[in-house]
Symmetry: C2
Subunit: 346 residues, 2 copies
């Protein structure tokens, strides 16, 4: 059976969950996918670096105690991401670190280093795809490898791969999405009578919202995802800063109640549309949706994207937009896509 050597960059929640799945579900995954995965290296800011061409002992990695580093299992306490990514004996680099939403770094450099050294790369970070998708895809094509990022939008819910696969040739003309679970949860709780401040506090209690909820309720998280979708699905070449953005901070309890009284719902909508001449228009803004709109019933922290198509009219996919396991699955689906490409091209 074909094996891929995998290098993990970052061992936070997402990559740790992926490592756990690979460790405990190896047999079932091999049966379902037709290949095996061997982790040959891990680097992490807190844990250091460990490399073993024969396979890192993942049982030992997952059993590390609080405060222990990879030095305890034959690695080192330091990490140099560029050297690690360029030299680790891996076919696939799995990138799941922090992204700066202003410039996509350091994830963007991680992806570039992986591709430059002839490795396929998958990432859950929005940054690389939102700031440099075209450059990175061209680089991947030049090197004969893949750049995959399903988890950048709606975690493991396969929005990007549905559009590029089963909806190929459907005549895609646009999309509208509920792309931030926190703001959708907050709007839902405002429908239940809470003020926005109360709803934000509740979302923080539930772990949906960060201590600083600005990226969620201000729209900048959605803006990155709209950029990824517009570039990927509509063939645009946009930079995130070019997307007009308005968050939900201006939505008052009165507006929510007034909409609700006629069956309508306020939603934070990220959307893009392509004109006949190919021009792509994008926006992030709250919209009041009538009850029969496909996105009106998307409740709680669920995310959804409605595709506008020439042959099928509206097609909508909804599912989780976040979560440890859900995002780890996005990486697994990326690896499956890399395998499919690899089989097809030699």
């Amino acid at each position: 059976m074909k094996n891929y050597n995998v290098a993990l960059v970052g061992l936070g929640n997402v990559n740790r969950t992926l490592a756990q799945i690979l460790h405990t579900d190896a047999a079932r995954l091999a049966e379902e996918t037709g290949f095996t995965l061997r982790v040959t290296g891990i680097t992490d800011l807190r844990l250091g670096t460990v490399v073993d061409p024969d396979g890192v002992d993942m049982g030992a990695v997952l059993a590390l105690r609080q405060g222990e580093t990879f030095a305890a299992i034959g690695g080192v306490e330091t990490c140099d991401n560029e050297t690690f990514i360029r030299t680790c004996p891996a076919d696939i680099v799995v990138e799941a670190t922090f992204t700066n939403p202003l410039d996509g770094e350091p994830a963007l450099s991680h992806v570039r280093w992986a591709l430059e050294s002839g490795k396929s790369v998958c990432t859950t970070n929005k940054g690389p795809a939102a700031f440099a998708a075209r450059e990175l895809k061209a680089l991947a094509a030049e090197m004969g490898v893949r750049f995959e990022y399903e988890g950048a939008v709606m975690s493991g819910t396969p929005v990007l791969r549905l559009a590029s696969g089963p909806l190929e040739a459907v005549g895609m003309t646009g999309f509208s999405g509920i792309l931030n679970g926190t703001s959708n949860y907050i709007l839902g709780r405002m429908e239940a009578g809470l003020s926005q401040a109360e709803a934000i506090a509740e979302a923080q209690d539930h772990g949906y919202a960060e201590a600083d909820p600005t990226a969620d309720i201000g729209g900048s998280d959605v803006r990155l995802k709209v950029t990824v979708l517009a570039n990927d699905i509509l063939g645009a070449n946009l930079h995130a800063h070019e997307v007009p953005m308005e968050g939900i901070t201006g939505i008052t309890p009165e507006m929510v109640a007034e909409a609700l009284s006629r069956g309508a719902h306020w939603k934070l909508i990220g959307q893009g549309s392509k004109a006949d001449d190919g021009t792509v228009t994008v926006s992030v803004a709250p919209q009041m949706l009538d009850a029969d709109h496909p996105l009106a019933g998307v409740a709680g922290a669920t995310n959804a994207v409605m595709f506008d198509t020439r042959f099928l009219g509206a097609v909508t996919i909804s599912g989780p937009g976040a979560g440890r396991v859900e995002t780890a699955y996005a990486l697994l689906s990326d690896i499956i896509a890399i395998d499919a490409y690899s089989r097809q091209h030699g």
Copy 2:
């Protein structure tokens, strides 16, 4: 550019629409898909048979006047489907005839003849997949060709291909679907205050419901689709007659109003679930769904399937469940899948 020769079996609404799309959108489709399609033969009960290895003149076919047959454009008035399917110089047979819901014929034989003669086949008929999916897939594998039937469930909305592609390895444990637009439309109109008889009459006026609406409201249409989904997605080996079935005829205006008063909705649900030991349980029956259920808001003639998965929880896709253009697109997506297989396997 790679070309596939295509034989059309049946030239009713669906195949005629496909032919129109292939005729008028040829350049755009070639650009998007990387291949061309040439219709080398057509057979139809009313129109007769026409075969031309260099390509049937589709402009002439589409311009045939009422009452004219293929005899007017160099063909014959008669048709012998078995001989046509076995001998037509085609790589792909596109089957879009009538199916008998009791045994899947004659579509089932059409598919078998195509596969036996080494041709890939795609069909919008539920019959072949509902009554003989396992046999026909094995036959296709043996002959090194493909049997595709995305249009059998939800027309062009890519339910089957989403499950087998982007949701591969997601740990699929079950599905629930609104799979009949007519009954969903009727239930929606009953929510607006109509009796079931009035709603049926209105659906007939709109062209949603047949003169005899039994298959729609009695559940047998959904039963065929549940069989296809259970066999395809959950690995079952069910025969349509094994699926317990209850339609919507027992749903009264009082039940609808009572549900609505607490925000709930009656829906005709086709579902399947797989136990840990692999046992698959299926059913077709009306269910009352709370407002926050992903299928509760699916309105009008729209269809939807919610997948239950181990890694992502619930993922739902909604879109058209019928329509000329929508179903023709299903065939086009099948042909794209056949091309992908063909590229991968030499």
